[in-house]
Symmetry: C2
Subunit: 330 residues, 2 copies
């Protein structure tokens, strides 16, 4: 779908990639969840950063400062998980508007500390300044994998099966019900999912250490957009079976209440922070049984590039999959 | 000088430092120019980040986007220089307001590339999004030193001599003349100094490799503030001899034109990005001669903590040195 926004984004992306490399230690640069840098003889380091700006990436009306701090760390940890890595160190840069008091700032730091502790991330430094009005956070995380084991977006091959962890769609519905201040257990479950994502570090490690995944990404923009990133980086197409998309009962009920097509929430709703990965057919069996204690669901398969991205309905009918997930430049 | 602003800043600082460490690889955490992380057997890695927000840290009225991009990289490279390190990789996160067109963004990236190329820094990744109105940049740089050779703020001891590289005061006058749109060679020289700082990477490397400096910091907030950071981290006091502060003739003339006391510009003007470092008396001789091709000036000495920070006037009279440099929380 070539819109004006897309072509602008393409120009910007080309610009960011026309950068010289001065180091033979850089194994993977711009364009994956993390950069990968060869470090010690048996270790690669993973680098990722997310810049979060009030009004663009979060809203203090729907999130407490504690929740904002925690989520800023968690979404970066998710990028490390998406490479199969272990998060180690963080730099946290904050710019604080005048209406954030010292006690509020303590709540923000409390959230940062909570998430850092949950994932054993050491805050190694950062930067602190004032702003005129908007709260700005930039979190950079440094993680590690065993040498050569980072799972890239570019590793998918035709015939591989597509898997996703956990369930989909609830986080995006959570944002909507938070804005509409809806109550009830289904709404509260969705809001919690939106506010406090659970990065799948242990699953990412298992997939990396078992050499089980060929390509991987975390679901931040939405399944359709993030699958497109894998397809583009790998030069492949993909088919997703709609009836296999994992959704919780609570999420399906909430979608019905809100008049949202459940499949649309699962396909295009962002911020689930589950892992989307591809698996060679001969490795699929390793994802079942008691030796693999993670909830993952097979939702489709990798096709040749010429097939594009398609969805298969329950009646077998296929149609093109549009990428309607979040895009900052649309 | 205990003001309300200082005590608020102290509370915030305590908060940022009450962070758990989960790694025995972290050699130096929050509170220095960079964090230091043990990496390979003979290498330590240096991590630093600076969050730059339009209206707080720069103004598009006085800086072109090319200059803003270049400076964002240069000030981070300066933090690596201040540890005696070599910059290697950068993550660049940008949030772009709607009035920055794609060609303008190309100028911003052009500046980022110019500085990255000048210091052989590889842009390894980052983040890109839109904002409502303000341009926001966060640059993180990863550098390296030989194991255990990072020069910290905390290494100063009583009796050491205090040195500074280059000349002082011009960058802060440059900001003023840019705002006032003054012309002439002295004004233009000062504006250039403000717009395009020159990180002292080679000097920092020589000081680290020769084990010549005991403590070091780069001058971003201003000599009085940055010296205070060394004194506090090292638990010492210091005396600065006013008549020894190095200033260019051009800067002295410009200060006279502007009605600014030259010593005040040198002591409190920020953004010179020179290196301030302490040297054991027996190592001072190594800083002279043709084997040390850098311009450095001895400006004072380290005193016991009880002496505080003092300035000595040309008539031998001493008085307390107030920290009037830039503080985001005053």
């Amino acid at each position: 779908m070539a819109t004006g926004g897309d072509s602008e984004f393409e120009r910007i992306r080309r610009m960011t990639r026309s950068i010289k490399c001065f180091s033979d230690q850089l194994l993977t640069g711009i364009g994956d969840d993390c950069a990968v840098v060869a470090c010690a003889p048996h270790t690669d380091w993973l680098l990722t950063a997310d810049l979060l700006i009030e009004g663009v990436h979060f809203d203090r009306k729907w999130f407490s400062l504690q929740q904002i701090g925690s989520k800023a760390v968690r979404v970066n940890v998710s990028d490390i998980a998406a490479m199969g890595g272990v998060p180690e160190f963080a730099l946290v840069s904050l710019a604080i508007p005048p209406d954030v008091s010292v006690p509020s700032l303590e709540a923000l730091y409390g959230g940062i500390r909570e998430a850092a502790t949950a994932f054993r991330v050491t805050i190694a430094g950062g930067d602190l300044s004032r702003t005129a009005d908007l709260l700005v956070l930039d979190v950079m995380i440094l993680g590690r994998t065993e040498r050569g084991r980072a799972i890239l977006r570019s590793g998918a091959q035709v015939g591989e099966r597509i898997f996703v962890s956990g369930t989909l769609g609830e986080a995006s519905l959570g944002l909507r019900v938070a804005r509409e201040q809806r109550c009830g257990p289904d709404a509260e479950s969705a809001v919690a999912r939106q506010r406090c994502p659970e990065p799948r570090v242990d699953l990412g490690r298992a997939l990396s250490q078992g050499r089980l995944a060929a390509a991987m990404i975390d679901l931040s923009d939405g399944l359709s957009s993030d699958l497109a990133h894998i397809c583009e980086a790998s030069g492949v197409g993909a088919k997703i079976r709609l009836q296999d998309l994992p959704m919780s009962d609570s999420c399906r009920r909430l979608a019905a209440t809100l008049g949202v097509e459940p499949a649309a929430a699962a396909l295009h709703g962002g911020e689930d922070y589950e892992l989307l990965f591809t698996v060679r057919p001969d490795a699929v069996a390793a994802l079942g049984g008691s030796g693999f204690p993670f909830t993952v669901t097979e939702i489709g398969e990798i096709l040749p590039a010429a097939a594009g991205m398609v969805v298969e309905h329950s009646d077998g009918r296929c149609e093109g999959l549009q990428t309607l997930g979040y895009d900052h430049f649309r």
